[in-house]
Amino acid sequence: MKDAMNTARAVPAAVNWNRLQDDKDLEIWNRLTANFWLPEKVPLSNDIQSWSQLTEAEQKLTIRVFTGLTLLDTIQNTVGAPALMPDALTPHEEAVLSNISFMEAVHARSYSSVFSTLCQTSEVDEAFRWSSENEQLQAKSRLILDEYDSTGHPLKKKIASVFLESFLFYSGFYLPMHWSSRARLTNTADLIRLIIRDEAIHGYYIGYKFQRGLEKLTESERAELKDFAFSLLFDLYEIEGKYTETLYDPVGLTEDVKTFLHYNANKALQNLGYEALFPAEACKVSPAILAALSPNSDENHDFFSGSGSSYVIGKAVATEDEDWDF
């Protein structure tokens, strides 16, 4: 007979970081905490002049894109990362997820810092209204939330979470990278790059835990989850395609954004340990966008892609770890 006492939650074991079941937990904890940041660190007000040089339509697009990103961060902060906690394989994983959850709140909060620095309140209010009514934004949120709330296989939550972290953000991230490649809103782009960096670790870590979970399953369970993952990605991609057209058709950027979506969809699948879906020809992201993503790391010192006779032996990187003996 069950009574109230029997359904009370068990007292958790106190988390002991000196006894690890999985070294990855500490590695990711250290990386995430070392990378901690707040939007106040970025001098957004230096973009005021640049903002005033955008057309009214470009400003409206930018605000809408940022409210869309805010919604995804909000979902990941309040629902996504917490929904993964009950399935954690180790107590340290739960602690990492709480960091991920909080950083998503920081991301969501930073878009409001951009707004309060650059925009009129009425424009921002209009964009938040737009985000609550936009069909595609609501549809993709619905698909992800349904997996977070599902009582189905717990690994499906991780699949949905990796797609949010490593795929759904990119129709939005494209725009500040595009502006940055044109020397516009460069401080805002610096802030977005901090978010992009965090999301990469989140997608990598959740994907890693997904693959650890997969190892314990039978062949047929694994096959079922893989089918589910590709099918969810197809559904999300269809929505993203329409979302991209609605936003970017008026500025003529739709095809360029879609290429960026293909490239990131393949990376999301890699985080889950799966092969690419989109062929290489569909993933040729424009060099300007790649350079905006990873400035100063272009290919000119790459022996294989150069003539083979001129290459630089490593650019200066500020990394003098004490472990080196030479």
Binding site: N30, N35, S297, H301, F304, I313, F326
Partner: protein, 138 residues
């Protein structure tokens, strides 16, 4: 002939890349308690990148331990690094650090476990590189 030496963390991205490359390779163990491989001929090193936001910690500790040995270090001829463009200017930065430390070329970089296109261009690049390296150092 020459060989490959690689490190891959438990995520297995680099190991996945190396197995698709289809070339024999020595693996640097994840655990510091396991013995290091002992290459007996010139090799190219393939490693992931673990840099934080300031570029610190880019080279995995086990790779540093492997290279700290002068005998093993003497045989390195080039480095290929993996990473993620999301890390901005520190994308695949472990390759830059090793190239500078060891005085060898950074041959190329790829993201995560590499695309099929990366596999093809790196297989091809390694063939060319070994041919040229053999001609100049034989």
């Amino acid at each position: 002939m020459a060989q490959l030496v690689f490190f891959s963390s438990r995520s297995g991205n680099t190991a996945n890349f190396v197995s698709r490359l289809g070339v024999d390779a020595l693996r640097i163990p994840i655990s510091p308690d396991e013995p290091m491989p002992a290459p007996d001929q010139p090799y190219v090193l393939i490693t992931p990148t673990f840099a934080d936001g300031e570029g610190r910690g880019a080279v995995p500790r086990q790779v540093i331990r492997f290279l700290n040995d002068p005998g093993r270090r003497a045989l390195i001829r080039g480095v290929i690094s993996a990473g993620n463009r999301n890390f901005g200017k520190f994308f695949a930065a472990s390759g830059d650090v090793i190239a500078r430390k060891c005085g060898v070329p950074l041959l190329c970089r790829f993201e995560l476990a590499g695309t099929d296109h990366d596999i093809a261009r790196i297989r091809d690049g390694l063939h060319r590189f070994w041919r040229e390296t053999c001609l100049t150092t034989a």
